[in-house]
Symmetry: C2
């Protein structure tokens, strides 16, 4: 089975989508590069929220951060009494609630939610928020944005995905994520196999390297693990390798060649996020598709990575990247070049539900999407989906907004945070 | 008077320093580029803290964030009873205190302060802090780092500057910073002239553009203001223009040519921080020196900007960039190429005092340094300097650590913050 980058592209899109089979060569001339950027800029310029679904403005009356026993939620309410919720990033919100309360929520009061694309631009200039570019500002912005989309969906009678695109997928195949760093190659494979059998996933991801400059443990784990993964799961399993930026320069290329020799299907985050020249050099030297993971926080840098063919899959994270509007812009840039999008999940609360809605609207959704397990932090009802993989497939919740109803008694126990 | 980039370099270093008169051309071959990176990496590898000043470890026993009426301070104490303080970034600490308390301070407890270079590396991996790269993590880290340097200075009987370099400068010439956006060209010039006359500064900076994508106000202000600045202040005044990333692409080049035509001495932050290709294109098209302001948060990206001759002055901010050790590494990279360092001041509290110590230790200090006014937030005593420009010159405080003694009664009024 020849799994080169082109065959990845051919087979590498969720069923139902059609994408041209192209592989962008690295720009060989300024003219070529300018042409690519022109396409990417056109993709960036396209509106995301379907404003035409709304016949009148939806004015945001309140935007509150709620907290109860470590669960955070944003609740937005319109002047007409509509309401939307987004469960927060509960691991990171304890670090970020002052930014949420002081720099993000106040901006949205009195704004027209149907102008969401523009609000996503303007909030970066409010209080010079752009200076905080990074997870610290994007997570709070994303949390409000997805609450607004939940509210707008309930007003328009549409799912979050329908607000930002057409529905291309209702069945979402997952890959089984895991972290077995620190364990031997043998134990890692056994753990991954057990998880994969539980979910029936047709794709798995495994971690190599030590994470950034942490030495690998045990020594030599990655080089033993890579062939063991392919031998254990066989040629029909799609296997992704995630490095969390463990390599630099020639070492990133050397490890990539080992992955290629074992027909691994994806090389995720080979080098640290801001090692831009290393991204290009690694991509130029290899045939295996390379993905930028959840570390990238800049639309401009995704444009650069794509414009220079340094990545062949985009994996922006809905929270870390500032919500669905911004994430859709990156997915569309990738689509322009014939490349798939597989969003990263930083995943607490209902993160995987929001991921499913986002993926449902992607014409260029990747073939398999991240699954880190079902959340039990937030009690909710969802009649249209178990939200649990069945034979490796998650079923998109139907209904409006997020498609799930958070238990009203649970909501009522939250306090409104203030500073 | 021909003020081209080369003459800037010749005259552009604080008195007493000698630097080769070179102008790096943009790398024309991979080999050339590799050679430059080899030099930059050698500069990065040099130790910063002079460990040899300490005969035994200095173990950090406590690292506390103190607060009183909006004034924040980090206090570090050693197991031997030594103490150091750093006044916080009081505009931003209300957003960042949870990151300070949860993700930064705990790392330092029990660590040996004399291993500061290594600690600055390791704190980025603690709790995966590197994921927050940006002001949000660097400001808290910087605040602890400068408190540690204050403490180490008191132990070794050295100033903060003496801990990280040799003292090259005790007289620091300032330029008068200001922000007159929104005012007419005429009113802007009058305001800047008044400020300049108060401090006797021999250099001034003025702001052009609207800041990022904010439209300029009044319309046409910059194009009127640029020649007016030169005509008003004459050819002997050094004049810097700061854009706060207002331009992109060809517009950045067009504005640069207007600056050149009026013999303006520096073009600061012409394009947004993460518009890396625009930095290169702007630099390649112009002769005026270009400086990266306080927006850049990545050592790797400064290496790239310098390695590709996209900047000819570095302006990292002690708080925004994570403290003196990291800032010194960037200054040394610039020094390697014959370029000056003029730190940005994000300036509250004692920021300008820390800036003076940092500048004192730079062989490649720029000719004029930012001055935004004396702080009155923190009552302190400094017998060795007025800390006020006299005929445009600030005098470096003598003494140990920061060289200033914060009023003990004021310190005593602070509470220790906890979460």
């Amino acid at each position: 089975m020849n799994k080169n980058r082109r065959s990845f592209l051919k087979t590498g899109i969720l069923a139902g989508a059609t994408l041209p089979l192209v592989h962008c060569s690295p720009a060989t001339s300024q003219q070529n590069n300018d042409d690519i950027y022109e396409k990417l800029d056109a993709a960036l310029a396209r509106p995301v929220l379907k404003k035409e679904l709304f016949s009148k403005p939806v004015i945001i009356e309140s935007c509150d951060l709620l907290e109860y026993q470590g669960n955070y939620m944003i609740r937005v309410r319109s002047t007409d009494g509509a309401e939307g919720f987004c469960v927060g990033h509960n691991i990171r919100m304890p670090h970020l609630f002052p930014i949420q309360l002081l720099l993000v929520n106040p901006f949205f009061i009195g704004k027209d939610a149907t102008q969401l694309d523009q609000l996503m631009q303007d909030v970066t200039m409010y209080q010079n928020n752009y200076k905080y570019q990074g997870y610290a500002i994007w997570i709070p912005i994303a949390t409000v944005e997805m609450a607004i989309l939940d509210m707008l969906g309930r007003i328009a009678g549409k799912s979050m995905g329908e607000l930002i695109g057409d529905i291309h997928h209702t069945k979402i195949a997952v890959y089984q994520a895991n972290d077995n760093r620190g364990k031997s190659a043998e134990e890692s494979v056994a753990n991954i196999q057990k998880l994969q059998q539980e979910t029936g996933a047709k794709a798995v991801k495994f971690k190599i390297g030590g994470r950034r400059d942490i030495p690998e443990s045990p020594v030599g784990r990655s080089e033993a693990l890579i062939p063991m993964m392919r031998n254990t799961f066989g040629d029909d399993m799609v296997i992704y390798a995630d490095c969390n930026g463990s390599y630099q320069g020639k070492e990133a290329i050397r490890m990539g060649k080992i992955l290629e020799a074992n027909r691994i299907d994806l090389y995720e985050q080979p080098v640290p996020t801001d090692y831009y020249e290393d991204w290009i050099a690694t991509s130029a030297a290899l045939n295996i598709p390379i993905a930028s993971g959840g570390g990238e926080v800049s639309i401009r840098n995704f444009r650069w990575l794509l414009g220079n063919d340094a990545v062949q899959m985009v994996q922006q994270d809905l929270y870390y990247f500032g919500g669905m509007v911004r994430s859709m812009k990156v997915a569309r840039m990738a689509e322009t070049l014939g490349y798939p999008c597989t969003p990263h999940i930083s995943g607490t609360g209902l993160g995987y539900v929001y991921m499913m809605h986002f993926v449902s609207s992607l014409p260029n959704a990747g073939p398999f999407h991240e699954f880190k397990g079902v959340s039990n932090e937030v009690p909710f009802q969802c009649d249209s989906s178990t939200l649990t993989p069945e034979d490796g497939i998650l079923h998109l919740p139907k209904g409006i907004g997020s498609g799930v109803e958070i238990d009203p008694d649970f909501i009522a126990r939250h306090r409104i945070m203030n500073m």
